[in-house]
Each structure stands twice: as structure tokens, then as C-alpha cells.
């Protein structure tokens, strides 16, 4: 990995961590667990399109580990990790079908899968099927939050594309 790329990945990770931290300081809109914006994913998506899947994985998983340490390691770490693995797998599988003008679509799909994966984790941890009751809300929240973060990542990527090119040469 070229040094430039490494540094760029590190900066994106730091940005993602800051976004994650700031977001956790904002009071939640609803009392429902799992309904949140996921601003940090702007940077994962950006890394996936601007750099490569390895850098994106670095941004995502280092952010999850460090973010959970800052927030106090707990159950939230397991949820984050499961959601991260599920959505990142989908992101890798589907990336080739979505060009840079469809980043937001990929983001929405990943957000939905992220929420569903977290909900299933909750079912296992709580040992209760009643939690599936939240599925519709989490899909709605995934669509809205995913569209928002995806559009952010898309705008940033399209604007910065000409500067990013040189990293990948």
C-alpha cells in the first residue's frame, strides 16, 4: 500500500470516528434503539469508491473498534460489529453494479441490511421474537438514513474525484 493511500485511509478513519462521536452526543430522535443516522458511513462509502475495499474495511472496522472503546465497550460493540460485517459484505458484493452516480442506492441497501442484521442479533441476544415488531421501523429508518449518508458520500466523491485519481495510479 502506498504511503499516500495509507495516510488517506487513516485520515478518513479519523473523520469517521469524529462523525461517530459527534453523532453519539446528539440526543436520539426516537427512543427506538437502532434508529440513527450513521454519519460515519459516509466515510466508509467514500473510501470504498475513492480508494479500494481494503481501505474501506480499515475505515469501517477500526472506526467500530475505536468508537466502541470511546463509548465504553459493551453490547453496543457486538451490534456495531454484526451490522458492520453484514453491510460491508453486501457493499462488496454489489459495488460493481452501482457506479458513482448510484452510491446512494448502495447506501440505502446496506443501511437496510445493517438494521436487519442488528435486529436479528437483538433477537438472539434477548431470546425474544417479539423484537421483530421493530422491523418496519428499522427498514424505514434504514432507507432514510441510508439515502442521506449515501447522497453525502456521492456528492463528496463526485466533487473530489479529479483530486483522488492520483492516489490510485
Amino acid at each position: 500500500m502506498k504511503t499516500k493511500k495509507l495516510v488517506f485511509t487513516a485520515i478518513l478513519t479519523a473523520f469517521a470516528l469524529i462523525a461517530f462521536y459527534i453523532e453519539s452526543a446528539i440526543p436520539p430522535v426516537t427512543p427506538i434503539y437502532g434508529v440513527k443516522l450513521g454519519l460515519a458511513n459516509v466515510f466508509t462509502l467514500f473510501a470504498l469508491y475513492a480508494l479500494n475495499p481494503y481501505c474501506a474495511a480499515g475505515v469501517l472496522f477500526i472506526r467500530i473498534v475505536l468508537g466502541s472503546i470511546f463509548a465504553g465497550l459493551g453490547v453496543a460493540f457486538i451490534y456495531s460489529l454484526v451490522g458492520g460485517v453484514a453491510s460491508f459484505t453486501l457493499m462488496l458484493l454489489l459495488k460493481r453494479f452501482f457506479k458513482e452516480d448510484k452510491i446512494w442506492v448502495l447506501s440505502v441497501l446496506c443501511a437496510i441490511v445493517h438494521n436487519i442484521a442488528q435486529l436479528l442479533t437483538a433477537v438472539i441476544i434477548m431470546e425474544s421474537w417479539q423484537i421483530l415488531y421493530y422491523l418496519p421501523v428499522l427498514i424505514v429508518s434504514g432507507i432514510i438514513a441510508g439515502a442521506f449518508t449515501g447522497i453525502c458520500a456521492q456528492i463528496v466523491f463526485v466533487r473530489l474525484k479529479k483530486y483522488i485519481g492520483k492516489f490510485n495510479r
Binding site: 434503539y33 453496543a76 440505502v108 423484537i131 415488531y133 418496519p136 424505514v140
Partner: protein, 125 residues
């Protein structure tokens, strides 16, 4: 596919989910069991969702008389011959609120199955 196609697909899913959510919240499939206690003993349990018509339950002891009104999904103290009538003023028993308590007559009306699973999820973070 065009952006417009995706927007239509996601809007459709969004509407379906909102519909499902409204459906799930308005039609309570679970039981809603309320327990009535007198002198710390469970006197009666009622599933509020299975009540079809308004019924009155009379509770009397040497301490005094209470009349409880039960209708579908609701339960409240209709009458009490105690001086303060706090339990009557309490109104309907709500899941988020406190139990209905008639202190002078030692009558308590409360939910038997607070949705502990749901609360556990909300408090997981």
C-alpha cells in the same frame, strides 16, 4: 436503472413499512393482562384485549367499596367510597403510567406483563 426507478422502489418499500408499522401498533396481538390486588392478594386477572363489552367489578371489604369499570383495552376505577378518591381521578390505567392505587382500601390495579423484552431493547445502549 435510473435514479427515478430506485426512488420509486424505495418509496414503495417505505410506504409498505409505514403501513405495517401502523398496523402493528394499532392491532395489539399480545395479551394485555391486568391484575387486581386487594390486601396484597391477587383477586382477579383480566385480559383487557379480550373484553368485549363494558363490565363493572365490585370489590368490597371491611375497609370500603370500590367499583372498577372494564372495557376493551381500558380499565379504571369508577367509584370508591374513600374520602380522597385519588384512584378515581387516576383515570385509565396506562402502560407507561403508575398502577391505580386505592390506598385506604388497599386495592391495586396494575399490568401483570409489562413488556419487559421491548423495554430491554430500548435500554440496550
Amino acid at each position: 436503472m435510473k435514479n427515478r426507478v430506485w426512488i420509486i422502489i424505495f418509496s414503495a418499500v417505505l410506504l409498505i413499512c409505514l403501513g405495517a408499522w401502523i398496523f402493528v401498533t394499532n392491532f395489539n396481538f399480545s395479551t394485555n393482562i391486568v391484575g387486581i390486588y386487594q390486601d396484597n392478594r391477587l383477586v382477579k386477572t383480566i385480559d383487557l384485549n379480550s373484553v368485549t363489552e363494558e363490565t363493572e367489578i365490585n370489590l368490597s371489604s371491611e375497609k370500603g367499596n370500590n367499583t372498577i369499570l372494564v372495557s376493551n383495552g381500558h380499565i379504571r376505577m369508577k367509584y370508591a367510597d374513600c374520602p380522597d378518591k385519588i384512584c378515581v381521578k387516576h383515570g385509565d390505567l396506562t402502560e407507561s403510567g403508575t398502577p391505580i392505587i386505592c390506598l385506604p382500601h388497599k386495592v391495586i390495579i396494575q399490568f401483570e406483563n409489562p413488556n419487559s423484552d421491548v423495554d430491554a431493547v430500548a435500554g440496550a445502549e
